[in-house]
């Protein structure tokens, strides 16, 4: 018998944790009460969030918030660390195919200023190095490299460039200037094939000319050679195919979870936990096998709730499609507090949620996936994908959250907004979310409430 799920505070989680322990909850080695991340880790933002009250969500949060420990343990075990920068879902698949290699996502440091409510000083360090607030909050990553307090310095750093945002490219170059060598690999701007060019279908529905796929494949071959050199063992097709199958296993779990969470009459999993779940698919939070287990438990919980007809929000919640990840996690709570629920997302890495083709040579399959990156194409392409997903999930409104300073956000919001309005006739609101949005909460709340009320008025 499943109870009524709730969104609870950290204080409430203290009681809930004791309750779950009393019920015989079995936790993994990284388990424990959420509060310890505040007391021991300084993750004070957790005090301001609301969480799903399931054991599965507890495991998700503990898995996320212990990544630093896992990386240090991997280093202690003499595993090789690959920092895959700006690459959303490609190099980690390759790295985990090699023996004794752990990949992680240094860009993930962009959430440290939020989670630690600026107490880590990463933004100040970035500013002192010339990366001020006109840059995307991912500049926190440079601070994390300087302090070495959040992850060990990786044995190899890769960074994709070309059709990427200038913020990240410039920040990564600054990092290299500070003495961290980077293997740069190129993703060209994805374009439509000319009539005389062979068109290749990409995961997610886009097409690219064959020459672009071949080029990206050649770039990934350089990365593969570097990983092979690092691990001391050639990275063969068989291992890569196995790596792709493992990544697809995770993507399939996530796909089912998303479909359930976005389409069930009552939302079975809150927006915040769903955002974290999606992030796991990019880089597996430094443990691919455990990421599959964590997501599997979350899916089981969502399934049970849907079957029982219960959810964390009422059936009347307005179905919102969300574009871009937020720098302040609290804003995902805010949407639900305002009467909305997430029904579709495009957090900049839609391609990392699609299955990687398993019927192709593995490097070609990975090249196709990398080229399907929504950021590598036009804003109109990105809007097309959002429109397709918003229609599929029955979204009633679209919220575009700008990332402060990000070079793409000044352009694409207007394009996506206009296309959504003209094609789907849905209301659209754009907001900007800094790492700590407390001072903006009244404004954000007003804008989100206006969006929700517009939908409610249309419903009536």
């Amino acid at each position: 018998m499943i109870g009524q799920p709730q969104r609870i505070t950290l204080d409430e989680w203290d009681f809930r944790y004791a309750e779950l322990c009393g019920q015989g909850m079995v936790e993994p080695s990284y388990g424990g009460p959420l509060r310890r991340h505040v007391d021991d880790g300084g993750d004070t933002r957790l005090l301001r969030l609301r969480y799903d009250d399931s054991a599965a969500a507890l495991r998700l949060w503990n898995f996320l918030l212990t990544e630093e420990d896992r990386l240090r343990e991997a280093r202690a075990q003499e595993k090789l660390l690959v920092g895959a920068m700006k690459d959303l879902g490609t190099v980690p698949v390759m790295a985990y195919s090699a023996p004794n290699v752990v990949a992680f996502y240094p860009d993930g440091a962009w959430w440290i200023p939020c989670v630690m409510e600026m107490n880590a000083g990463l933004m100040s360090i970035a500013s002192s190095l010339g990366l001020d607030e006109t840059f995307c909050p991912v500049r926190a990553m440079v601070g994390a490299f300087v302090t070495q307090a959040h992850f060990p310095i990786p044995d190899m750093l890769t960074c994709s460039v070309g059709a990427t945002c200038d913020d990240f490219s410039a920040i990564a170059q600054r990092l290299e200037g500070l003495g961290h060598p980077i293997l740069w690999w190129e993703i060209p701007g994805r374009r439509k094939p000319d009539p005389d060019e062979r068109a290749i279908a990409l995961p997610g529905g886009f097409e690219a000319p064959a020459c672009q796929v071949e080029f990206v494949q050649s770039e990934l071959e350089r990365v593969k050679a570097a990983i092979s050199d690092l691990s001391g063992a050639p990275l063969g097709d068989e291992a890569l195919c196995e790596g792709i199958r493992a990544a697809n296993h995770i993507r399939r779990i996530l796909s089912e979870l998303r479909t359930l969470a976005f389409t069930a009459p009552k939302c079975p999993m809150p927006a915040l936990e769903m955002l974290i779940a999606e992030m796991l698919a990019i880089h597996f939070c430094s443990d691919r096998d455990e990421a599959a287990v964590v997501l599997g438990e979350l899916l089981d919980e969502a399934r049970a709730r849907v079957e029982a007809g219960v959810g964390v929000l009422g059936a009347e919640a307005v179905r919102v499609f969300w574009v871009n990840p937020v720098a302040d996690l609290r804003v995902m709570n805010l949407l639900e507090d305002c009467g909305g629920r997430i029904c579709g997302t495009e957090y900049l890495f839609a391609h990392a949620l699609d299955a990687i083709p398993e019927d192709l040579p593995p490097m070609e399959a990975l090249a196709r996936m990398a080229l399907a990156d929504p950021m590598a194409g036009s804003s109109a392409d990105r809007a097309e994908r959002a429109i397709g997903d918003a229609g599929r999930f029955g979204s009633e409104a679209v919220l575009i959250s700008r990332i402060p300073g990000a070079s793409h956000c000044a352009y694409e919001g207007a394009v996506i907004g206009e296309m959504v309005k003209s094609r789907l006739g849905l209301p659209v609101v754009e907001v900007e979310v800094p790492p700590i949005a407390d001072a903006l909460m009244p404004t954000l709340r007003t804008r989100i409430e206006a969006l929700i009320e517009t939908v409610l008025a249309w419903r009536n």
């Binding site: 006109t134 190129e186 300073g405 000044a410």
Partner: protein, 327 residues
């Protein structure tokens, strides 16, 4: 006679390739946009987009991917004009042969685009002829440095880029200027807009001497003279190598070649200070400001062009203070 003007801004578009297809290459200097750019939008990218979209005489507009804001501007321009817009991939990486091949493939794709607009396919002979003509004209422009004030020199580079054909066969006849006085400095940074060339006068008026215009509109992006031994045998290869392989730019990854070039120029020209002009939302230049200062060990004056409007009074005051330090 040409088949019309092809306008662009990126220095990695070879003017010779445009001309060899029968079009008039025109690397424009946009005027400041009438309205302030949206938050986060680079003033230069907005000015270029507005200027290009309004240019009803252009046969085509070329935009490249060397900067994300310009890449995204291509979509903005295409939505506002019926003039064909071509978005060319200019690789950011350069250390492996694949990047050079991608650049050449893109140049060839650009050539097919010109043909689709009614241009003539570029013959080897025709390309060699244009390359030699532009190369000589460019040498003439370069040679005029000692005969012109800093502003006139930079404007003559911009003017050459705006219409290179007009310079072919023209030689300079004036003599050298009196030896420059003041502290030799380099001005480096992104592209200048029409209104910003005044900065060169202000530098010289406040006690400096512009020994190097390393902005995107200045000397830095003038391609090196072509390798005449290779030119006849492989003109397109020579063209690609000279542009893609030779123009130093901080957007390249890694951007070590830019620093090598700057170091060479500092030594050759005895530069004692660096003035870096950048736009508010230009990540590429802004991220390098601190590194340039640390690396060069020279006094560095960042000049924030903000939304494209350099305040002359404030700029003068900052320059005066800078030259007090530099002297």
């Amino acid at each position: 006679m040409t088949r019309g003007r092809v306008i662009y801004s990126c220095p990695f578009i070879p003017a010779e390739w445009v001309r060899a297809h029968g079009f008039a290459p025109s690397r424009i200097i946009p005027r400041l946009a009438a309205t302030s750019p949206n938050a986060g939008m680079c003033a230069y990218a907005q000015a270029f987009a507005d200027t290009a979209a309004r240019d009803e005489d252009a046969a085509a507009i070329i935009v490249t991917t060397i900067c994300d804001q310009m890449r995204r501007s291509a979509e903005k321009i295409a939505a506002k004009t019926r003039t064909p817009v071509f978005l060319m991939n200019v690789p950011h990486t350069w250390q492996n042969p694949g990047s050079h091949k991608l650049y050449r493939d893109e140049i060839e794709r650009l050539g097919r685009f010109f043909v689709s607009l009614g241009g003539e396919p570029a013959s080897n002979d025709g390309l060699v002829r244009v390359m030699k003509g532009f190369d000589e004209a460019r040498a003439c422009v370069r040679g005029s440095r000692s005969m012109l004030t800093a502003r006139h020199y930079s404007e003559s580079i911009a003017s050459f880029n705006h219409d290179p054909s007009a310079y072919v066969g023209v030689s300079s006849s004036s003599g050298p200027l009196a030896p420059a006085a003041g502290a030799p400095v380099a001005i480096i940074g992104g592209p200048l807009m029409g209104e910003s060339f005044v900065i060169l006068d202000l530098i010289e008026r406040t006690g400096g001497y512009v020994a190097l215009d390393g902005t995107e509109t200045g000397e830095r992006t003038l391609p090196a003279p072509f390798d005449r031994r290779r030119l006849n045998d492989d003109p397109l290869g020579t063209l690609c190598e000279t542009y893609f392989g030779g123009i130093p730019d901080p957007a390249r990854r890694p951007n070590s070649e830019f620093f090598k070039w700057l170091g060479r120029m500092i030594e050759e020209r005895g530069i004692r200070g660096l003035i870096v002009v950048h736009y508010l939302w230009c990540d590429i230049w802004r991220a390098e400001l601190r590194r340039i200062a640390e690396w060069s060990k020279l006094p560095v004056l960042p000049l924030d062009a903000g939304d494209g409007r350099l305040d002359p009074t404030r700029t003068m005051l900052r320059l005066e203070a800078f030259f007090e330090v530099t002297r």
